[in-house]
Amino acid sequence: MSGAILKFFLVVCLFLIPSFVFAEKQNDTIVLGMSAAFTGPTRGLGIELYRGAMAYFEHVNRNGGIYGRKITIKAYDDGYNPIPAIKNTIKLIEEDKVFTLFNYVGTPTVARILPILKSYSNRNIYLFFPFTGALPHRKPPYDEYVFNLRASYEQETSGLVENFIKIGRKKIGIFYQADAYGRSGWDGVRKTLAKYGSKIVAEATYKRGAKYSESFKKQVEILKNAGVDAVISVGAYAACAGFIRDARDAGWDIPIANVSFAGSEFLINLLLEEEAKTGKKYTHNLIHSQVVPSYEDMSLEAVREYRTLMDIYNPMPPSDLIEADYKPLKYSFVSFEGFLNAKVIVEVLKRLGKKPERKNIKKIVESIKNLDIGIDEKISFSPYNHQALNKVYYTTYKNGKFVPIKDWNEWRK
């Protein structure tokens, strides 16, 4: 135990050496705690989210920081598993004394740390902008400790269901991760269908942590045999890509929609690799719902800024946190989300003033109204609304790019 602590301490020291070089005092740095998957089948999410956020923090830090304070992220790997996530959170609060928690990834992980936030409520520990659209942290009793930027899975799936119904694809099946994340998506689909007086026709699950190399033929078979018109896929990119691969291999060409958490670029990359290998087509008839605008939309100021800063800094997480074989994406929806998260938290930190105190966080954040961060939607929080954005963007992959879907009739039945 003490060895682990010592090792951790050394890591922290190494990490903090630059801070000491540039700043004389510890409190010259604002440390944000992050627990996410930096390894495993969903590592891309944690890494890209970190990269996007750090790109902006670097920019802020290089330009005087926040009242002279630099912003850093103290990141730990949880491998997308709840128990490490819980341990990391406690460590971040107790040992690293982070200012706030930021950029967590995943529903099963976040859902389990919520009670910790509640237990630390006297110390005003808040979680900012977790990379999940699940309901648990958007509903009482935990919603007051969490601030969300992105739209919920319920909003994502609801839109998908409505669009599918519009084009006559009423028999909807769902492929989801057998955990709180999958359940959130499942719940969204179910509730939306219920509005139309129908039900999920068939459902298939997979176990969290499933790799792309695994077979998803059983799941494909279950849904295909049920005769569904469209599949809504609520999973991590490795599993979703695997499912698409096996569906297409089975000659099943129905539209498959993935939610934002899938990390569209990672999913497409896996399928492209498969296409290169087998010569078959896997990337068609795929719908990707996003909770941030497309980083291809150069009309947005935030996109321009994001691209510039990513190009300049191209930050990477500490090398001991990630696996050497990881190849970062130049741009992605995930890192763009991280970038936007960073922009909002910087604004929050600025508003906290020269001497930021945690007890003021809630009041300050809830007071933000109509904040423009350079996208097509303004940011507003209130004591009753801890989710700033509600817009869902539907994209599809065409000609090597993610393009917004303008006409769903392409997939009309």
């Binding site: 709840p82 128990i83 529903t107 099963p108 859902a111 389990r112 699940a134 309901l135 648990p136 509903k139 009482p140 057998a178 955990d179 709180a180 994340y181 999958g182 359940r183 959130s184 499942w186 719940d187 179910r190 509730k191 068939a202 459902e203 298939a204 699950t205 997979y206 176990k207 059983k218 799941q219 279950i222």
Partner: protein, 621 residues
């Protein structure tokens, strides 16, 4: 190394015992573990289910499946939990952990709103304990927790395997321990066994090296001293045997020398009449070499000898006969059976092993006897003729003296009267002595005839009663004269016998007159009885009796009871000898019982069925 039998038995025992222990423990612990695990899983499942149920009410009401899912996921991590699912009040599964999809069976179970535990078996999925707990008494829904029964079995077998491994190690250890212990016991036992085998082979010099102080050591010591004792006894007996053999050899040498150098011939036959020993004298007597006789039947030595042997083998008494030897010699053979002292009742021979025959050459004695008889006959004959003349002349002289001389003599002359008287007296003496001599000569002639076998027997069916009464009539006046009563006691209706009547009367007269002669007072009694297959005749008197030593002699020739010098002989002394000859010639016997001073009883017997003896005896002589 040779495995001792003791160890093998012990090993088998241990294996058997362990097999029982193995099975018993395995079955018991298996059952116990299984039961405990099932109980544990049930309570675990129940705890989980009720824990989820108690904390999920609000979230379900909030329609927040994801939170419920987060909660149930948490419990899925608990060991033994295979699935968890929550059904809302409408029976819809709002959260579950099934991959890749909800089994049909679970969908069925979800519709059954019943709290409790039941067994569920799902194809391709496994066997489970489905624990159901209601949320708010079922108003909101139910929680199902599936505990994996397969894990229970796996765990059970795991524990059993460990237990059996441990038992097996203990078993190996026990076998080794038993091996050493048994070896410690059996090693000296093996030594003892070897030692005992050597003793059995009379190797008393063998050594056994056991020094332990336990029972085995004691046994070894006991065996050692036992061996020593046996050795001593053996040595002692060996010496004794040697002495006995030497003694026996000496005795045998003596006996052989005596037998071989005996003047009499000696033949030994076995119970079947086969000759197995012959001495030198015997082989000379029969003119055959020893080798020609040994192993042959006694028959080869003549009919008489064969008959004698057969007779001897049937009786313990000494039997004898005369036989002819080579060179016209005569021998007397005496045979006596050899009898074992102890014999079993069933044995046919009644312990008779054979017979010893002693043969004496009596040619010379026979010749002397014959010469003596012939001499007596001749002398008697030559004596009787002149004696008859002498007696005739004496009677003539006496007649002439009485008729012619006596009347012419003056008997008043006392002197002359005296002389006449003397002459008369002398005449009487001469006459009576002459008669006595005649009688004696007759008797001598008689016995000579009997002995020489020249008597002609007048055999016919006669009555003993007549014999006795006739004899008594002849003597009755003598009894009256002496005043001694004679009682005749003859059994009525005695059978007739084939005999010479006159001769038997002669015997009875002899006996009665003897009785009268020696009896001064009392009586004489003659009895006749049927005694089995013979007639027994007795003559009893109350006379002087016969001394013991005289009893046998009185049947010899010229023997009389009493002092012959002092007492005046009354008779010839041949009566009993003649009687004996007559009776024996009839196949009977004659003997006397007597008590000195009280009287005597003379007995003789006449057999009813006549044997051929009379004729044969007649022939053989």
């Amino acid at each position: 190394m040779r495995m001792s039998k003791l160890f093998r038995k012990t090993l088998l025992g241990i294996i058997f015992l362990f097999a029982i222990i193995f099975i018993t423990i395995s079955v018991f612990s298996g059952w116990h573990i299984y039961k405990n695990l099932v109980e544990e899983y049930k309570s675990k499942g129940t705890a989980i289910a009720s824990s989820i149920a108690s904390s999920s009410a609000e979230t379900i009401l909030n329609l927040d499946s994801a939170t419920v899912q987060a909660m149930i996921d948490q419990f899925l991590e608990i060991e033994g939990v295979s699935y968890v699912f929550v059904v809302d009040s409408t029976g819809e599964i709002v959260s579950h952990t099934f991959v890749p999809t909800i089994p049909e069976k679970i969908k069925e179970i979800a519709q059954v709103h019943k709290t409790g535990i039941k067994d569920v078996s799902i194809e391709n999925f496994g066997d489970f304990l489905d624990v159901v707990s209601p949320i708010t008494e079922g108003a909101i829904g139910y929680v199902h927790v599936g505990m994996n029964k397969n894990i229970i079995n796996k765990k059970m077998w795991n524990v059993l395997a460990k237990q059996l491994t441990l038992l097996f190690l203990i078993f190996i250890f026990s076998v080794l321990l038993a091996y050493f212990m048994v070896n410690r016991i059996s090693q000296p036992l093996n030594q003892l066994t070897e030692y005992a085998k050597k003793l059995l082979a009379h190797d008393f010099e063998a050594k056994v090296d056991i020094k332990s102080e336990d029972e085995i050591g004691l046994l070894a010591n006991t065996m050692k001293s036992m061996a020593n004792n046996i050795n001593e006894v053996f040595t002692r007996y060996e010496f004794a045997l040697k002495d006995a053999v030497v003694e026996l050899q000496d005795t045998l040498a003596y006996l052989t020398t005596i037998i071989d150098n005996m003047a009499d011939g000696l033949i030994v036959v076995d119970k079947d009449g086969i000759i197995n020993h012959v001495n030198l004298a015997a082989s000379e007597m029969f003119g055959k070499a020893e080798s020609e006789m040994i192993g042959k039947s006694i028959e080869i030595l003549g009919k008489e000898l064969d008959k004698l042997v057969k007779k001897s083998l049937q009786t313990e008494e000494v039997v004898s006969t005369e036989i002819n030897l080579v060179n016209e010699r005569v021998g007397k053979a005496v045979a006596k059976s050899i009898k074992k002292e102890y014999f079993s009742e069933e044995s046919e021979a009644r312990g008779i092993l054979g017979s010893v025959i002693l043969i004496r050459d009596i040619t010379q004695e026979k010749e002397i006897d014959r010469l003596k008889t012939e001499f007596i006959t001749v002398v008697s004959h030559e004596l009787r003729t002149p004696l008859t003349s002498i007696l005739g002349f004496i009677e003539l002289i006496n007649k002439k003296f009485t008729e012619n001389i006596l009347p012419r003599l003056d008997l008043s002359d006392t002197k002359l009267a005296k002389v006449v008287n003397k002459i008369n007296k002398d005449f009487k003496i001469i006459l009576s002595e002459g008669e006595r001599i005649t009688l004696l000569i007759n008797d001598v002639l008689d016995i000579s005839k009997l002995e020489s076998g020249t008597v002609t027997w007048n055999l016919q069916e006669i009555s003993i009663k007549e014999v006795i009464t006739d004899a008594y009539k002849a003597l009755s006046f003598l009894f009256e004269q002496k005043g001694i009563p004679c009682y005749l006691d003859i059994q009525p209706s005695l059978p007739m016998v084939n005999a010479d009547k006159e001769r038997l009367i002669q015997v009875v007269i002899n006996l009665l007159s003897n009785a009268l002669k020696f009896t001064e007072k009392g009586y004489v009694k003659c009895q006749a009885r049927l005694n089995e297959d013979e007639i027994l005749v007795s003559v009893e008197d109350t006379g002087i009796g016969i001394p013991e030593k005289e009893k046998e002699k009185i049947f010899e020739k010229f023997k009389q009871v009493g002092d012959l010098i002092k007492g005046k002989p009354k008779g010839t002394g041949l009566g009993l000898a003649i009687s004996k000859q007559i009776i024996e010639a009839h196949g009977g016997k004659i003997w006397v019982e007597s008590e000195l001073g009280k009287g005597s009883i003379f007995y003789f017997t006449i057999p009813l069925t006549r044997k051929e003896d009379l004729n044969e005896n007649t022939d053989s002589r």
